[in-house]
Symmetry: C2
Subunit: 285 residues, 2 copies
């Protein structure tokens, strides 16, 4: 039998190093193929954190990340990383673990991400919908725009853009043509290009895969995440996902940016919010 592994699953693979009571250490290999600029994409790190958490709490019946809160301390780079998971509490319906991702530095380990993860079984939370945001209606993926449609001469910010198949809606690409409408929002289709289907872990990647909404203001440049919290709300159906990013508050050098993800049946499957540093702007008149 031939085992097919997606590039996403390879990128979040973990090897257990040791296992003391309540504390497990894994090694991971961060691939620079998931980088934008010189930093590994924050969504991939979030998925790696969620994978480590679920691995530990799955045997207690808590296989899905319900809430993942990550603080990003320094930019992760391609290469070896250590993921340390501490079990904080194992309850009846949920477990909570603390996760630290670090990389060897010149003299000491460099903390990259610290996270708290509460896990459970999403199937046990299935039920009535009292309210949920409606899935935006987008033209079909083939009428939306991918990285490959960029105007000639635009430099690719990193190989990460080949790891994800993101198709921005026509009303979300004006910035790429120099039309800065200040909408502070974007919608897109998302899938993995190699056919890897969505699951609760991969949704953690999806919430940080679109270009930053600061681009709609004409603010170019890096938008490093300080904190990102994601709630996985349901097990996604196979197929394309729809993602909406929007900021409610972009003030004074800090930007809050929310993501909502719906599956191919139109069901809300993830909500996330991040606080990020806004790009440095050239002095404005």
């Amino acid at each position: 039998m031939c085992q097919v592994t997606s590039e996403f699953d390879r990128a979040i693979a973990l090897t257990a190093l040791d296992d003391r009571p309540g504390r497990t250490r894994f090694s991971a290999a961060l691939s620079d193929q998931w980088s934008i600029g010189s930093a590994v994409n924050g969504g991939l790190l979030l998925a790696l954190v969620g994978n480590a958490a679920s691995t530990l709490t799955g045997p207690a019946g808590h296989r899905h990340p319900l809430a993942v809160s990550a603080h990003y301390l320094s930019a992760s780079t391609g290469g070896a990383a250590t993921v340390e998971v501490e079990t904080v509490r194992t309850g009846r319906r949920t477990s909570t673990v603390a996760v630290g991702l670090s990389q060897a530095g010149d003299d000491a380990d460099q903390p990259r991400v610290r996270a708290l993860v509460t896990t459970g079984d999403l199937v046990g939370y299935d039920g009535v919908t009292f309210t949920a945001p409606e899935c935006p209606r987008l033209p079909p993926p083939e009428e939306c725009f991918s990285w490959a449609d960029s105007p000639a001469g635009v430099e690719k910010p990193g190989p990460f853009l080949d790891r994800v198949d993101v198709r921005l809606a026509p009303d979300s690409v004006g910035w790429a043509l120099g039309q800065f409408d200040g909408a502070g929002a974007m919608t897109a289709w998302f899938r993995f290009p190699d056919g890897r289907q969505p699951d609760p872990i991969s949704l953690l990647q999806v919430v940080d895969a679109l270009p930053p909404v600061t681009l709609t203001y004409g603010h170019l440049g890096w938008v490093p995440t300080l904190e990102l919290t994601a709630y996985v709300r349901a097990v996604p159906a196979p197929g394309w996902l729809v993602v909406r990013h929007a900021t409610r508050a972009y003030v004074g050098g800090l930007l809050e940016e929310d993501a909502e993800v719906w599956d191919s049946t139109g069901r809300l499957v993830t909500q996330s919010r991040q606080l990020a540093s806004a790009p440095r702007l050239p002095a404005m008149a």
Copy 2:
């Protein structure tokens, strides 16, 4: 000179127990005067966590909580608590600490809250507003409704309701009269009854001070927080605050609930989001 301390400041007071490199332990006395039911209010615990973090990182110039992510593990009760703070990283603009709040149990310490806190100086983040939600217009506080206006016979859920002066807008109190409009939202004025003015730490209390929006669906009962992340966006001006709570997604036994807080000048000062367990409902036809 006479030192006046507000009841909020007394409730979040900390005493340093010991101070090892990178790790400080504090004791705190959780007052059951801040309880709803038998549990100490989650907002007070968040403020206590923020206070511990700021105490440690203030000397590095990072006196304000910018992002606080807390996972609530078990209900805190009136009595002694230990708050342990680990310094994860001290950077140029921000510091990040991990905080654990626990209480002595029958045989072992019971973890109550685990949190990650990134601190900085909000004044350094002052600047242009590109977008921010507008402060809702409410009738003046004297035309809004406090706990004391409840219909006769309604039992007070706990002494916490006397610690905060919350005045719900007329369009946010239908549920108290049996009119369940399913709005999933509430707006209110907030202040401390003893005149204690708002600051970045007290805003962490404010985001979890209103009744849960599940009441607008006629769903009574406890709504325990699993996770709550708050972003403090500005130092608030003195005076009344305006708070808006709303859910975007209340599905299958889990509820996301957002809070936004504006100061008396109409400036957005805090955003928060929590994931909570919905009240258990009687079987529905």
